[in-house]
Symmetry: C2
Subunit: 425 residues, 2 copies
């Protein structure tokens, strides 16, 4: 980032954050204002790699304040990363919040100079979905909520609903979030397929498996196609990092957070991220099973959630399409495509392509979590390395075959059957 | 265009243009400067629909000056159109000129306020290629030159050569040329497939054929896919309107002009425009045949040019790829893809997809020239309406079958055979 863009930026600590909040009505009012501000308590809770995250509570309310630093926090300033990601995170949250407020936390305030956002405090008992999946907790509304979120955010930011002018305005704006896109390109589509100092895996168990990924020409050919689609295809404003660590849940609530990778990309990248991480959670269960809980029922619930997530998404997405088929959407103009038979053929083709894109991206996301830089707690928390490697190998083999053979799948039920066939249980 | 953006704009006439040139060193110097400027003669030659075009000559030199008006010139201010297209034309010319100076006229000066460009005067005996094709003139170097132009401009503005940051910067910049993209969307991908007051065709002969296009669900399904690709897929900085009216030729020189539709789009749209317009020229020949010249030899030359254009393009494009395979191109990183066998498989897949895209876009461009708003002189100049309709029907049927069956073609030779099979001669 150029020096002049750094002007005015300073990392806040608890004292300066307190002063900032008191001077910012959009934040102070959420905490009751006036005398309530004297009761403010601030707790730094950022467990992530990238940002400072503060929970700010007063007797009258609570908010979260998030500040991005110009480098990857856990590595330090040796790995610089633009603070502008905070701007794109706030922008995506606001846009997705407008389209699906039920599952997107409200942004109260954004300060571009400080890369600082004030937003809803997602209160306990909300926890990160991934932690719930490790603990074996069922979320009966998860598929319903996530299909809702994905259908609304993706449909309403696509050419099925928008005219080209609005679409290209969005594309231009989010093109500047390129540093985050490049990070994804590297860690998802490149590093797992080459020798890289950032890669790691459960060694020595998976040494040969990791090598096989690097030597698999058919796999690399398919991954190249997905990578180009990720960069070139501006289909909708996607979250860009929709794994189970970006979702907070209770039994009755689902909140999607952290869209700092947001940009106009292929829809399947979001859908695949969610489904792929559920599949990883499935394969991790054998490592969490013990005498008290064999996790068999929970595995069934995960598979059911995978099925329902896609099927409900597809249903809701097509319903939105039908409801808004007279809209300004440039892709299928009403006076050309609004004949019942033709529209249904068009929709079937669109959804089939989207299904295959989702399977492709989902598999790529699984692979990178096993042989790439960033792993998932689902598998990492399995202490016994040999046991963990067994789970990972099953997930890896499943992902490789889905990625290569994704065009053969016609239904999510077939995919679920395929997943089960790789389960070593 | 908003009022404030109009500030400072004024359409020039010959007198004010003369004063402008004298006050602009980048233009005056091309005309010899000093006393030479007293000999300047100005001729308005814009035969087009969109712009004023002046040839400016002095005893010491000649230039072309082009000014865009904020509406479609031939319709008047009832059809507004952004003058910013001149900016994108100048930008694309400069970028393509950097990559392929042999076939791109030099830009001497651009004034964004006046939407005014000074550029190389492409001197006689250069004529518009389309006029040469109507007259039956062979251009022995055309395929060689156009394959060169397309290979260089498309390869060097794609992710095969550029990193994602540069690519997305370009995408963002040219996203603002959206009004021109929308015009293409309407006249190429939409209007021919619906009742529109802008459509016309050789009536009554082709009434049923035009209706059949509007009722052809399979065709409309395919066209929808191409339209979405046109809007969503930022593959390279394309010319955007690469028909035979955008090319000036002599026997030994080929100059590509008028890229005011330039933006980051699918490569196949340029390649298809060129090939599709050559195919239209082929089908028009039966209407130009007379006792003095049966045009049979000329038709063979056109088919040979179609073949060579694709085959040489493919050869040169892959040569550029091989030559620059160690470059910064993000799509196929050297340490993953630079194994001879894998690289060749990757390239084959890429070129096959590009071939099918080109056939799809080329066919769509043919169809719109027969039943849409803007027709081509190749066919329009056939005076006998019944004869013209025969040529047009053959071209239309050929285009429809290529568009629907494009994935079956493996070589351009197969396409040429297909073209001949629809020839009623």
């Amino acid at each position: 980032m150029a020096a002049e863009e750094e002007q005015g930026f300073r990392p806040l600590d608890e004292a300066s954050l307190l002063a900032y909040i008191k001077a910012t009505p959009a934040l102070a009012s959420r905490l009751g204002g006036g005398g309530s501000l004297d009761s403010i308590e601030i707790k730094e809770v950022g467990d992530g790699n990238l940002n400072f995250v503060y929970i700010v509570q007063s007797e009258a309310g609570a908010i979260v304040v998030k500040q991005a630093l110009p480098y990857v926090r856990c590595v330090g300033d040796s790995w610089p990363m633009t603070r502008e990601r905070a701007y794109f995170e706030a922008s995506t949250l606001r846009e997705h919040g407008r389209l699906c407020p039920e599952h997107t936390p409200e942004v109260y305030h954004f300060d571009r100079t400080l890369s600082l956002m004030g937003m809803r405090y997602i209160e306990p008992p909300h926890i990160i979905l991934r932690k719930g999946l490790v603990a074996g907790v069922e979320y009966p509304l998860l598929a319903d909520h996530m299909s809702d979120y994905m259908a609304k955010t993706l449909f309403f930011t696509s050419l099925l609903y928008n005219n080209t002018t609005d679409h290209k305005n969005g594309v231009a704006k989010y093109s500047a979030n390129v540093e985050m896109c490049r990070l994804t390109e590297q860690v998802v589509f490149s590093d797992p397929y080459r020798v890289s100092k950032f890669n790691r895996w459960t060694s020595p168990y998976l040494d040969k498996d990791a090598e096989a990924v690097r030597e698999d020409d058919e796999l690399k050919l398919e991954v190249a196609g997905l990578k180009s689609m990720f960069i070139e295809r501006a289909q909708a404003l996607i979250h860009g990092d929709l794994h189970t660590g970006s979702i907070m849940v209770t039994e009755g609530s689902t909140q999607v957070i952290d869209p700092e990778f947001g940009f106009y990309g292929p829809m399947g990248f979001d859908i695949g991220a969610f489904l792929g991480n559920l599949i990883l959670a499935y394969y991790a269960q054998n490592g969490h099973a013990d005498q008290a809980n064999d996790r068999k029922a929970y595995k069934k619930w995960i598979l059911k959630t995978i099925e329902e997530s896609w099927n409900l998404f597809q249903k809701k997405f097509v319903e939105l399409w039908n409801k808004h088929k007279e809209s300004n959407g440039e892709a299928y103009l009403p006076d050309i495509y609004n004949k019942p038979k033709l529209l249904s053929v068009v929709q079937k083709k669109y959804m089939t392509n989207l299904f295959h894109d989702s399977l492709g991206f989902g598999s790529a996301k699984m692979i990178r979590r096993i042989v790439g830089i960033a792993h998932v707690e689902d598998l990492e928390s399995i202490k016994d390395a040999s046991k963990r490697a067994e789970c990972e190998r099953a997930a890896l083999n499943c992902a490789k075959t889905i990625l290569k053979g994704r065009h053969q799948f016609e239904t999510i039920e077939q995919v679920v059957e395929h997943i089960q066939s790789f389960d070593q249980d």
